[in-house]
Amino acid sequence: MLKIFVSKDNLPRLVDRLMADNQVLGPVREGEAYRFRALKEARDLDLNFQNTRLSPKDLMHPQTDPLFAYSLRKDDPEAGILKELPRQTAQRVVLGIRPCDAKAFQLVDVNFVTDTYRDPWWEARRNATVLVGLGCTQPCSTCFCTAVGTGPFDSSALDVLMTEVEGGYLLAAVTEKGEALLQDAPEAQSATGEMAEAAEKIALEAAKKVAKPFVIDPLKDKPQTELFGAEFWEEVQFACINCGTCTYLCPTCWCFDIQDEVQGDRGVRLRLWDACMFPLFTLHGSGHNPRSQKLQRVRQRFMHKFKYYVDKYGDGPACVGCGRCVQYCPVNIDIRRVVAMMSASCVCPT
């Protein structure tokens, strides 16, 4: 596949050219944190970041997403009938996404695109987006991507993998989509063998830096009901305050709510992020709540990611080791510790 080199000076020109035909998104510094935003100009792009505070999942699955609109006007013959909102999905290029976050899209694909049903919004946005990932040379101490089957230079969910090398970036196409993006780039020169070698070395070095706080293999064989009934959940759940920070920042948490909102005689049906941490998430109309206790809700989040998902799809876990929940949990519930406990409970004490 095609590999090109773009010097740091030439990168803005490349971005400018891409912006002519695409909506280009990338990490932008806002105050003290980074966030993926549509670039207004090439210099908004700031690749000098570790990762964004919020995961880029809202690029595919916005926190608030209007699905349908309707009229409630009494004399309207179409009153009460939901209409799809006209929607045109612009071609998008996401520059600088971290390989872990891109991997998350792939893990969530199996939820939204199935044999029986396909989520039209997720699918359209995924198809219209080219992911140009930036390999991670300085993983944080909270990163554990290699423990969950991905890595700082994992290109498996990317269209193009970018590696920062001496003087610029090596861009390596991973998919046809990526190849098409890199073709005929006057700002670039073709990459030399030495560059490719250097990039490989950088990737290997980076992977070595990532901590591996647990092994997940023992989890696979344990029946879900046994893990579900384990005693350590009591300890894990104590500190939890049941806010939605972990789920809202998580790149693989996809759960959502659907709500109607009405103003006067017009209304919309919206899709909104929701979270298994909230009691309302599972509250029946009758008042019964299968997960009324904090312990049940906390357990659900970890079990869903590391057991249910894995058992259901034979893939995963549904975690990419980005460490956001570790860094931002207000009460320091550390997923690395929890998974280590889950895993340890699956190993017979010798």
């Binding site: 909506q23 935003r37 549509a38 809202d58 690029l59 916005p62 926190q63 608030t64 209007p66 609109a69 909102l85 006209p86 929607r87 045109q88 999905t89 612009a90 998008r92 946005r125 219209a128 909102e261 009405v262 103003q263 017009r266 209304g267 919309v268 919206l270």
Partner: protein
């Protein structure tokens, strides 16, 4: 804008101010028709949520009126209400709601003329403040209604 008339939601206590409104009507006292009355059992019944709901739905002003201190049908409901309103009014003004949009009064059921007079005062003050521009809930439909935070991500929705 010349046709704009202020919309005012008035929460009136059943035992006094609502009676005053009634008496004002029966007595043919003139007061502006900009007021939509919601009868409540006591000014103490008014939850701040009600006042925010009125503003969210586009009311240009909110007026709350109850019994004079000491005259509460439930003995002390308006005393509690007074403390609640003091803090609420202050918080809303502090966060940028125009003070001219929030009004409170004590009007007994006999004070029909005070009712009409306060009603005029409220309407004129809100009129001077102009149409409410802040804190109005709009439908999340299309780009225009979205906050800055999501506008760009929503750019694809035409």
């Amino acid at each position: 804008m010349s046709e704009w008339e202020p919309k005012i939601v008035a929460f009136l206590c059943n035992w006094c101010s609502y009676g005053a409104a009634d008496l004002a009507g029966v007595s043919r006292l003139q007061y502006p028709a900009n007021i939509r009355v919601i009868r409540v059992p006591c000014s103490g019944r008014i939850n701040p949520k009600f006042i925010l709901a009125a503003l969210r739905h586009g009311a240009d002003g909110v007026w709350v009126s109850g019994c004079h201190p000491g005259d509460c049908h439930y003995i002390e409901g308006n005393y509690y209400a007074r403390r609640k309103f003091a803090l609420l009014k202050s918080l809303l003004e502090h966060t940028g709601i125009d003070p001219r949009r929030l009004h409170f009064s004590w009007i007994s059921s006999a004070e029909a003329s005070k009712f009409a007079q306060v009603a005029r005062e409220v309407v004129e003050t809100v009129r001077a403040a102009g149409p409410s521009r802040h804190f109005i809930k709009t439908l999340p439909q299309g780009e225009a209604a979205w906050g800055q935070a999501t506008a760009e991500l929503q750019a694809e929705v035409v």
